[in-house]
């Protein structure tokens, strides 16, 4: 478990409503409406907390006909707190995690539901969003300009700027045959 995962886990537990939900789930798996009734909270509030618990990896969900049944993910909860705290990361891992966090933050602020809200002005940030868009391209596949435009247009209307920037950032290559994703060695 990374430090960020540990923080997410502890944050998810540091809330009385979420603790009550976990106590109920410790008795037996339950669905939202039942938890809402038991804890005297509204179903949307319960769903909100369950999402946080699910993201932190404390809770599992399973579709069962009309309902989604939630249960405890016992392996995480059975882990010793001291073991989680003691878990050490190397300097390289810490650096990688920091970079990943920054990347995630940029993606979260510039994308909304898979659409790019605006093109970042800062080059470092733009590089991150271009790399994110590049995930839509298959390595080794040759694309026509039209295909590249259509793929990028799924993210943002200004596909021309983004296409050109992907070339200048050496994310895509262009020659007489067409466009191709540049894969890292």
């Amino acid at each position: 478990m990374t430090e960020n995962d540990a923080i997410k886990l502890f944050k998810s537990l540091a809330d009385k409503s979420r603790l009550m939900i976990l106590k109920s789930l410790a008795e037996q798996p339950m669905y939202v409406e039942l938890l809402a009734k038991r804890l005297n909270l509204t179903p949307p509030t319960i769903s909100f907390h369950l999402k946080k618990l699910e993201d932190a990896g404390v809770v599992n969900s399973k579709k069962d006909q009309y309902y989604t049944i939630y249960s405890l993910k016992e392996n995480i909860l059975n882990a010793k707190t001291l073991d989680i705290i003691k878990e050490e990361s190397s300097e390289k891992e810490v650096q990688e995690e920091r970079e990943e966090q920054y990347r995630k933050k940029v993606i979260e602020s510039f994308f909304e539901y898979g659409k790019l809200k605006s093109i970042p002005v800062q080059r470092k940030k733009e590089r991150i969003i271009l790399e994110e868009i590049a995930k839509a391209f298959e390595p080794g596949k040759l694309y026509t300009e039209r295909e590249v435009n259509i793929t990028i247009a799924d993210y943002h209307d200004d596909f021309c700027t983004l296409r050109r920037d992907m070339i200048s950032e050496k994310i895509l290559s262009r020659d007489e045959k067409g466009y191709q994703l540049i894969t890292k060695e």
């Binding site: 809330d15 009385k16 409503s17 949307p44 509030t45 769903s47 909100f48 369950l50 999402k51 539901y113």
Partner: protein, 127 residues
């Protein structure tokens, strides 16, 4: 009823609602329910938005040299219209959040719409 009386009653209602939200916010925070406390802050912000808009409409109408009855009618039309225009964006965001099963934003947008509806109903009830 005069516009002054209506303003007193409606702003009184909004102020009470805001006070309730603040109290709930404090209580939930003390009870270690920070996320739910934040939802109360959102509700208070929505009250703030409509209070400011309401006062702006009243101020504009007070400058006009028309009858009190006409002012009340115009206020009803203008301010009711705000309950159509302002939440439009929230409805769009709610639909988007629902399409992506984004539970956190579904809860927030529904909360905003619920407060707006309550404020609208209270406003109409005053006439």
């Amino acid at each position: 009823m005069t516009i002054k009386e209506l303003t007193l009653q409606y702003c009184g209602f909004i102020e009470d609602k805001k006070k309730q939200c603040t109290e709930q916010y404090e209580n939930l925070k003390k009870d270690n329910r920070k996320d739910e406390a934040d939802h109360e802050k959102i509700k208070e912000n929505i009250c703030d938005i409509f209070e400011v808009l309401f006062k702006a409409h009243v101020n504009q109408l007070e400058k006009l040299s028309v009858s009190e009855e006409e002012k009340l009618l115009r206020l009803k039309a203008d301010f009711t219209n705000r309950f159509e225009t302002i939440p439009k964006n929230w409805i769009a965001r709610l639909e988007l959040a629902k399409r992506h099963n984004d539970v956190a934003n579904i809860v927030i947008e529904e909360l905003k719409l619920q407060v707006a509806k309550e404020l609208e109903e209270q406003f109409i009830a005053l006439y």
